[in-house]
Symmetry: C2
Subunit: 182 residues, 2 copies
């Protein structure tokens, strides 16, 4: 069975793409997505823009599944909705700049981590202080409260650092420290 040079080329290109698609979707668990969502992103990475039917055909999955997957990808800014006139189908495009995905994702996540934990700490601080300052408590109780208070106090250093890390990513000053091109 003879194959033309172009037919061989198609095979090679597909193989090349599959390698990269596999690696991307496998490492995308870091971004908290399932393998199939990862595979969708990686597939879109090699395509211009896609509508839901094209995704469904490419991944051989149902349309509602594509709908939810693409929304998850939009939430973490890895896919953008594109406005294509002419067709009335919604079209989407993968964010191809990994720096942007990185920046957007980790900033969001780390901000959430800081916010939730700081709120909890402030609440906890209030009650721990009450115990620490309560003259009618035993010394043991006040010591225990103080111990936890100090732990939380030192964890604040980390959360503030994380806040500044996010800031340095948002304002891109991180790239002064670590340039994109070395």
């Amino acid at each position: 069975m003879e194959r033309s040079p172009d037919e061989q080329a198609i095979e090679k290109i597909d193989y090349a793409k599959d390698q990269v698609i596999g690696a991307i979707s496998e490492t995308m668990d870091l971004y908290g997505v399932t393998p199939s969502v990862g595979k969708l992103y990686a597939t879109m990475y090699f395509k211009g823009r896609m509508n839901l039917d094209e995704m469904r055909e490419e991944l051989e999955m149902s349309k509602p599944s594509m709908s939810t997957s693409v929304r998850k990808l939009q939430e973490i800014d890895m896919v953008k909705k594109t406005f294509q006139r002419g067709s009335r189908k919604h079209t989407y495009m993968a964010e191809k700049d990994f720096f942007r995905s990185f920046m957007s994702f980790y900033c969001k996540m780390w901000e959430r981590e800081v916010k939730m934990n700081m709120e909890a700490i402030y609440e906890a601080d209030f009650y721990l202080k009450e115990v620490m300052e309560d003259q009618y408590c035993s010394q043991e109780m006040r010591d225990e409260a103080n111990e936890y208070y100090q732990m939380l106090e030192s964890s604040k250093i980390y959360y503030h650092w994380l806040e500044r890390l996010v800031e340095s990513i948002r304002n891109e000053s991180i790239f002064d420290f670590l340039p994109k091109h070395e």
Copy 2:
């Protein structure tokens, strides 16, 4: 029903701890662990060292469950095995320095991301180059191969940057740029 100052203090301290435990375990999805693993870590965070039976009692779960949870936490360096003589039970201690957990976890993950994707890219490059240099292929094929090649080429910039980010965390030069204490 009268409660003594110490009884009230216990309640307050427990409430304070629960706030923080809730926040930590809720945000620990970032570290790719389930809520119950997160809750175990957060619980251990407030205890000195614990053995499996103490964990089981505290979280009201089975022992094998604690065994697997604690192993997961060890894998991401958030829990260390401690050697306690006297008792023959294994004891474990939570890593309380969030900087260390951060550094260890993200370095490992990002290194894995770089390694897997770079390997895939090198493999892909090989086949894409073959197509690009094949004189018998149509121009369209060669162009397509080249297009993908360029995409991968530019993604390498990101992976190399990630590599340097990991390095700066490992050698702690990141803290020259962003000191722990601002």
